[in-house]
Amino acid sequence: MRKIWIMLLCAIAATGILSAATAGAAVELNMYYPVAVGGPITNVIDGMIADFESANPDIHVKAVYAGNYDDTRIKALSALKANQPVQLSVLFSIDLYELMDQDVIVPFDEIAVSPEDRQWLSSFYPALMENSLAKGKIWGVPFQRSTIVMYYNKDAFKEAGLDPSKPPSTWQEMTEAARKLTQRDASGNIIRWGVSIPSTGYAYWMFQALCIENGLELMNKDGNQTRFDSPAVIEALQFWRDLGAKDKVMPEGTIDWGTLRQKFVEGATAMMWHTTGNLTAVREGSKFDFGVTMLPANKHRGSPTGGGNFYIFKNTSQAERQAALKFIKFMTSPELTARWSMATGYVATSPAAYKTAALEKYVTDFPAAAVARDQFQYSVAELSVHENARVKKILDDAVQSVLTGAATPKAAMESAQQQADRVLKPYRP
C-alpha cells in the first residue's frame, strides 16, 4: 500500500519538475515544516512566504505543513529516500545527529561563505546554536525555538491567597503553591489541579528540564552516551511522580501535550509547564489574567532549549542551495523574526530582533514575551544523540511507565539506560 503512495507521489513530483522546467529560470524550493503549538500557524507561515516571494519573484517556495516534529522528520526523510525534490525543511533541532547519520544535510558553512553570510550565521543567540553544532560545523539555523516556561493563572493565585507577582521559584515552593491551588468540589472531586506537566509527545523534553534543575544533563556532547540511571535523574523522576501520586496536585497517569493548553485556558489547571511557543495562543484563549515565569529550580534553574531549525538537504543544486539560503536569511531577519515571535510566542532567535521597534514595544507591553529569552542564561542543549528517535522513545516510555505507576523510577531508568547503551554502543570510539 505504502509503495503505491510513493509511486503516486513520485508521479506528482515528476509533473512538478516538468512544470518547473517550463517556467524558465525560476528556482522552486520545497520544504516541510511542523506545528507543535496552537493558533493559526500555517497562515502566519504562508504570509511570511508570500512576502518573500513578492520580494524575490524568481524563487518559488512551496511550504507543506507536515504534522508534529516527528511526523515532519518522517515525511522529509521519506521524500528524500523516494528522490522527491525537497531542498530544505524546518525540523527538530535535536534531529541533527540522526540527519547526519542518514547523510542527508549539508553544513551551512559550505553555503554561507560571504563575509555578510558569516556575520548572519553568528547573529543568533549562542544558546540556540548549541544544537546546531557538530564536528566543528554549523548544520542548522534557529527558527521556531523555545524554552519551557511555567504559565500560571493569576486569578487562581489570588483566590488561593497567593501573591500573583511572586510565582514559585523552587520545586518546593511550586508543590506548596500547587497544594493551595488544587480545588475540590463538595464531593471531593478535583475541579482545578495545582500544576500540570505534559507527558505525551515531548515527555523527554519536560523530563530533561527536571534533570537539569536537579543538576545533571542527560547526555554527553558527542551524543553517544546517556546518563539515565544516575541518582539525580532517578530523583527528578521521583519528584515528577510524587506530584501526582503523593502530593495529589497533578493528575495521575500521563497528561496530553496537545490538549493541556485548552485545560489551562479553561481554568482546569492553575499552572502548566509548556513551550513558550504557545504564548500567543494562551494569551488569545484565556479570559483571566495569567503570568509566565521561568521554570522553578531545585539545585539551580534550567530548561532545555527546544524547537525547530532550518536544514538544507544535500541532494540539491548550487542554485537551489543559494535560493534556500536567501529564503532562510529572509525568514530569520530581525523584522521577520520579530513578527514570527509575536504571532506565536517562540523566542526571537537573535538579539537584533528584540531591538526592532515592533518587538521592543510588544515586550514592554507584555513582559511575558521575554521570559523564555531571559531563561537562556540557564538553558542547555536539548537531548540530542545518535539514533535520536529511538533513544528519545526509550526515555519517553520509561517516564510514562513511572507516571502511570507501572514501574519505579529506579527500575525504569536503569532499564532505559541499558536499552540506550545497546543502541548507542556502535557510535562510541
Binding site: M1, K3, I4, D70, D71, R73, I74, L77, S78, M100, D101, Q102, D103, S187, G188, N189, I190, I191, W193, S199, T200, G201, P251, E252, G253, T254, I255, D256, G258, T259, Q262, K263, E266, A268, E387, A389, R390, K393, D396, D397, A398, Q400, S401, L403, T404, A406, P426
Partner: protein
C-alpha cells in the same frame, strides 16, 4: 469471425482466460506478492547505517523480535483490541440494521445518523474524540461530574486507554457494517416471513432460524473485514496516543510504522511485517475453513 470464436476453434480458450486474468495478476504481483517477498528477503539482513553497511544476519532479526517486549505488548494489545472490537461492532451493526429495516419513524434520519461516522475521515474524527476524552474539560468527564463521579485520565491511564481506542473503532465501523446487513435484510423475500407466520413461528424463532442463516454470507464478509480493520486501521493512534502511555495502546501496525519510519530500522520493520503477515494469513485460513462450512450461498 470474432476473436473469441477463433480462439475457441483453436481450442485455446486458456489463452483467453489468462488474458482476462493478466491485469489483475500483474497488479497483485507488483503491489502485493513482490513486496511480501521483498519483506521476507529484507528481514534476513541488518539495517544499513552510516559506516555500517547492511549484512546478512540470518534469523537475527527474528530472535530480536522474540526478545522484544514492545512487540509482545503490541501483539497482546492487538489481540485484545480485535476481540473487543469485532464482536461488538458486528452485533451492533446487525442490531442497527434490523432496527432501521423495520419502519421506525424517521428511519432516513436514523440510517443517516448511523452511517455518518463511516464517511468522516478517521483523523478528523480522532481529533474530535481527543477532546471528548480530555480530562476535566472533555464531555466524558463532564458527564461523570453530573453523576458525581470523579474525573479520569482516559487516555493517560494504561487501564482505560485501549478501551478508549476500541470505543472509537466500534463507533466508526458499526455503521459501515450495518449497510451490508441492511442490504442483505432487504434481499430476504417477504414470503418467507408470511410462510413462517402461517406456520406459527415467533419473531425470535424466525430471526434465529431463518434470518440469521440467510445473513451468514454477509456475516462472513463483515467479520473478515472487521478482522482486517482491527489490524490495519491505526490512524486514530497517531492522534490520540502515539501508542502511549508506555506502549500500552500500541498496535502491531503502529509499532511497525514507528520502527520503519521513526527509527528507520527497515530490516526489523520487515521482520515485524512478516510476523503480521503470518498472523493475518493464519486467521484468514481459519475464518474461511471454519465459517465457510456454516455459510449457505444462494
Amino acid at each position: 469471425m470474432s476473436i473469441y470464436s477463433k480462439l475457441q476453434e483453436h481450442n485455446a480458450l486458456w489463452v483467453y482466460a489468462w488474458l482476462l486474468l493478466m491485469p489483475a495478476t500483474l497488479l497483485m504481483a507488483a503491489f502485493t506478492h513482490f513486496p511480501i517477498l521483498g519483506s521476507i528477503f529484507l528481514s534476513f539482513f541488518s539495517t544499513a547505517r552510516s559506516g555500517r553497511p547492511s549484512r546478512f544476519v540470518g534469523m537475527g532479526n527474528y530472535s530480536t523480535m522474540l526478545n522484544d517486549p514492545v512487540f509482545w505488548l503490541a501483539l497482546r494489545n492487538n489481540c485484545i483490541y480485535a476481540l473487543g472490537t469485532i464482536p461488538v461492532s458486528v452485533c451492533l451493526a446487525l442490531l442497527m440494521a434490523v432496527w432501521v429495516n423495520g419502519k421506525p419513524a424517521g428511519r432516513i434520519v436514523v440510517r443517516t445518523a448511523y452511517f455518518t461516522p463511516t464517511i468522516l475521515p478517521m483523523i478528523a474524527v480522532s481529533n474530535i474524540w481527543l477532546f471528548f476524552y480530555t480530562p476535566q474539560i472533555g464531555i466524558l468527564d463532564k458527564i461523570c461530574r453530573l453523576f458525581g463521579l470523579p474525573g479520569h485520565s482516559w487516555l493517560g491511564s494504561p487501564d482505560t486507554v485501549l478501551a478508549c481506542l476500541m470505543a472509537l473503532a466500534v463507533w466508526k465501523d458499526a455503521g459501515f457494517f450495518m449497510i451490508f446487513y441492511l442490504a442483505a435484510l432487504q434481499g430476504i423475500p417477504p414470503e418467507l416471513e408470511e410462510a413462517a407466520a402461517i406456520e406459527g413461528s415467533g419473531r425470535w424463532y424466525f430471526f434465529r432460524r431463518v434470518t440469521l442463516p440467510l445473513l451468514m454470507p454477509t456475516t462472513l464478509f463483515v467479520v473478515v473485514n472487521a478482522t482486517i480493520n482491527s489490524f490495519k486501521l491505526v490512524d486514530h493512534i497517531f492522534i490520540l496516543t502515539k501508542g502511549g502511555p508506555d506502549n500500552t495502546s500500541s498496535l502491531l501496525l503502529y509499532y511497525i510504522y514507528e520502527v520503519a519510519f521513526s527509527f528507520w530500522d527497515t530490516a526489523y520493520a520487515a521482520t515485524l511485517t512478516v510476523a503480521l503477515l503470518v498472523i493475518l494469513g493464519g486467521m484468514a485460513v481459519l475464518q474461511f475453513v471454519y465459517i465457510e462450512k456454516r455459510v449457505h450461498y444462494r
